[in-house]
Symmetry: D2
């Protein structure tokens, strides 16, 4: 069994560090962005989605980020407040940086792409000076979203948060969350991902994301080797995702696998954030790993069927009802191997 000690005396369940953004999803989907005429606005950005997801499941989250000093920045703060996420470390930018925008093109249930506005962007303006030890020490765990490492000064803010988490004995969760935007080379990706991975207690990533992380190491690229290597550093749990084939959590030499729940997807994204928030909920509750994975997989399925991300995050009751419904229909072992 895994051993992760969350200090029950700490008031926040999780502090996340990374981007909050706005998703504009077309109402008239299944065509290109050239043709789409009408868009819905949603709070987005992977760690923002995870924070909202965990809040809806009943956990208290805080968030280190910078937002634009305009209505869109106000929108992020207002959404976080509505969802119960602490916004004391969500600060406006000083130099006119803008909130990241994501325009989604949903061509079919399998094909979607995104058009991103991510230059001169608010979230990557997070500074080391924004990161304070007291806030990290008030949380049971710290989650670093890998995209925050793509550029200075956000990169150094994230590395400082890692250093202060180590100093304050705060478990570190590393969600690799690779996005090609903003990175300048594969070497940079490998250097900074590996830096945070070797300090992390829990790592979440796809096979491709681990390959990027391990590019300067002498590893064969197998799940077993990946799991062993990072556990040889500081990791207690190594989760490796394989898309529609499911995902596996490694603890020592043992592995626990889960499959996706049966679902009619509307779009091919959003599942990862549902997965992460529900899986981390289970960990914070001290659940057995298989139960954490099952909750994660069910939440993922709910998300890929929804039009947006953060505002479709389910409550615990909703995921549980969904699991029960699936089990009634497909058998107790739905999702489990």
């Amino acid at each position: 069994m895994y051993t992760l000690a969350f200090d029950p005396a700490r008031p926040l369940d999780l502090v996340l560090l990374g981007r909050a953004a706005i998703d504009f999803n077309p109402v008239d989907y299944f065509q290109t962005l050239v043709e789409s005429t009408t868009f819905k606005k949603y709070l987005g950005g992977s760690p923002a989605n995870i924070a909202v997801g965990l809040s809806r499941l009943g956990k208290k989250c805080g968030f280190f980020c910078r937002v634009s000093d305009d209505r869109f920045g106000e929108y992020v703060v207002s959404e976080f407040e509505r969802e119960g996420v602490d916004t004391s470390r969500v600060r406006p930018c000083a130099n006119g940086e803008k909130l990241g925008l994501t325009f989604t093109e949903i061509l079919s249930r399998d094909e979607s792409s995104i058009l991103m506005y991510r230059k001169n962007i608010a979230d990557l303006a997070l500074e080391p000076g924004d990161i304070d030890e007291a806030y990290i020490a008030s949380a049971k765990a710290l989650l670093i979203s890998g995209t925050s490492l793509a550029q200075s000064p956000s990169r150094e803010a994230a590395l400082k948060a890692v250093a202060l988490a180590q100093k304050t004995a705060t478990p570190i969760i590393f969600d690799i969350d690779y996005r090609p935007y903003n990175w300048v080379s594969a070497d940079e990706i490998a250097l900074y991902y590996a830096r945070v991975a070797q300090a992390a207690d829990v790592i979440l990533g796809s096979r491709e994301e681990y390959d990027l992380t391990e590019a300067l190491l002498d590893l064969p690229g197998s799940d077993k080797a990946t799991s062993a290597y990072w556990q040889g550093k500081n990791a207690k749990i190594v989760v490796i995702k394989h898309g529609k084939k499911g995902s596996t959590a490694w603890v020592g030499d043992e592995s626990y696998s889960i499959k996706p729940f049966p679902v009619q997807a509307l779009k091919s994204f959003g599942g990862g954030d549902g997965y992460a928030s529900a899986f981390l909920y289970g960990l914070l509750e001290g659940w057995p790993l298989m139960d954490c994975l099952e909750l994660g997989s069910a939440s993922a399925s709910l998300l890929v069927g929804a039009h947006g991300c953060s505002c479709f995050m389910p409550t615990l009751d909703e995921v549980r009802k969904y699991i029960a419904k699936c089990k009634a229909e497909y058998g107790e072992m739905v999702a489990r191997f």
Copy 2:
């Protein structure tokens, strides 16, 4: 009477230089952008709107601009083509510049504001190398939108277009079109506005815009002095706008004034582009100035009552019917002093 010689042998009626952008206007208006949830996407950017307006009135326009190398850039090209604007000089950007975005906040019929994405922006990536003499020499006139002067290399592209228009005896129309974004100082505004104004045959601007243009000159800031000064350079017609009080066109010592048509405005912007396109239509047709002004004023009124700009530009028949309707209701002299 004014004397503007448009060469009838030239195939294009007008080449415009400046920005094309996307407007996102909220469907759920009369609230802030924090609350608005649903947005309509429209082709925008003042000179793009004017080009569409003139096309709908039956004139053939060309356009010098750069657009993003993505779906939004494709959208601009596809809208221009649908409207009959020549896109042979509309080119994709090479360095990831993005199309400008304008999110409109319509708080009431009188109060609206905009949230702009205009950093690292496609239209200001227009380069001197994009401007060719042959295309300018193929047009009856060249319109420079003042916003193109805000930043290099677009600034030099615009100045080169002015130089080539002078070389090819192409009349120059300067639409001052002041936007605070991207400019770094009042001195820069004054220097570059005055540079183009002194080469222009027709100048269109508000009193405030002329004040910016004349900041380094020894002028009293009166309409009479403004008109005299620029006619002392190269101007044949100097149009000075005074918002809801109407506008005046000066030719020599004579002035011609028009008032707005009676209208229930939905928003406080968009009128200027309707005005410019219809006024220029009249000029290109060789109409008497008062008729040009009347058509401009009527088109402006139609636009402020519409949800967007470019795609609500009227045909000649529509403006004429609107004028006739207003005259039937309010008298022949509606809008005229």
Copy 3:
């Protein structure tokens, strides 16, 4: 005869705008910079040299420029003060910009090249806000060095100085002074050179520099056409230099030519600044053009034989003695055609 009205009531003879820099000239010349081991430090930068030259000839100069906020900036100020140049408009940079450095490689009497440090450079940090009308109005003339136009914000500072010179009826001298560094395209060069040239009362340049200036105009590239075109704008005197073949000043249809004085050159640069300062001295004194040219040519010859530039600028007595000596040796018409 030329007509240039210098207001005798104005206390400063000339205000110059442009760069001050440091030249490091090798003591162990006639080898490459790889081998040279020892360097002499001199005040440099073409307009700084001209200011020192005019001062030594007895004229009072002022200078608009920015220098580095370090010992090298102090050095410029201290040299200017030692030479009697007014330094009230010589200001330190605020953002760590450094003074331009020029390392000279003198391979032979004919071949020299330079290695320049001109990125993030102090002189191009001159801002429009540095330029005040009162100072320009206190000078008999304004000299714009073309290199100041290469980059913002120095470019706009120069254009503002031109605008304020026009406003205060201050004659403008344009020394084209082309250097390839910092410029980004031939179109930019043509646009900004032509802008200042059309406002200038006196223009100084080589044939190549006029070709750059006229690239967007419809001119044949002959001296006669060049002279006529710019006199058709605002120029009273157009000086065109042809290197070792001498130079010609045009006034109306008349031209006045001078040859170089016989000289054993040490290096192939520096002559132009000696020429400009002595020629302008003559103009400010109201001399006949041929006498201005003779003084200029003699000063040029003195400079190409010296190890540095500014600190080898001659006094009036020294140039006159040199001219007398040459005439004694080579005949009264030495240098004159």
Copy 4:
């Protein structure tokens, strides 16, 4: 005793990563840079000096760096070649970056300061792509100069070299070498210094440099705690310098201290590079630590009495004669406590 395994089969004794630059030292010193008129040009930059020092002592060094694509870059390559440093990884910059320049102001034997040109600089243009595993694997050790961490992409090049040294079992020497230029915050310094320090086998730094390195750690700032902490990571030897009071090398709980040799200093810099090269020579030879320290201290004393750095690096015979001379004059225990 320390245990550092250098693979005798590897052809290069040391590969260094960091800056090569040019020092201009005034011949007419003991005055400010305003007054100094004549300068000598020397190869400079701390790791370049160390490479030359080690070469003169008989070791074969390689060097990862970028130099300017001009005569000064050629000069660096030619100096390295003259000294026997391998230049196969010394590459010219592609984007006009210039070699760093250091102008030294020697006010007195105790007071000196420097004026640096370090913007848009060649050495910080070193890229991760410049670093190859084979070259590192061909060297007995890798030295990282801390200044290379100040800015991207040199920062990532250094981190990649560290990663590849770990992969190829190449001992890492970290010379903290703090220079305030180019760094943007104390947090950045702490993050990147600590990153390399925890991978290093040998660390060289002053007390102040260790304080910067440990700013985000929970350490008391004593030499004993510093030494213990880094040995708890990967360090075998921790050298802490205390300026004129001498320096101490820690191995386990044991410490070895050395004092400066008696010397009449000409300037207050340069000693560190003499120290490092001679100390590392001893290590590479497998000498007892006290002998390494003695050689380092003697070389340091020779350097502070010289006009430049790299070209005054002593041979083994010269240091030994100097030590012998000092011992004859001051006793066998000169420099030893």
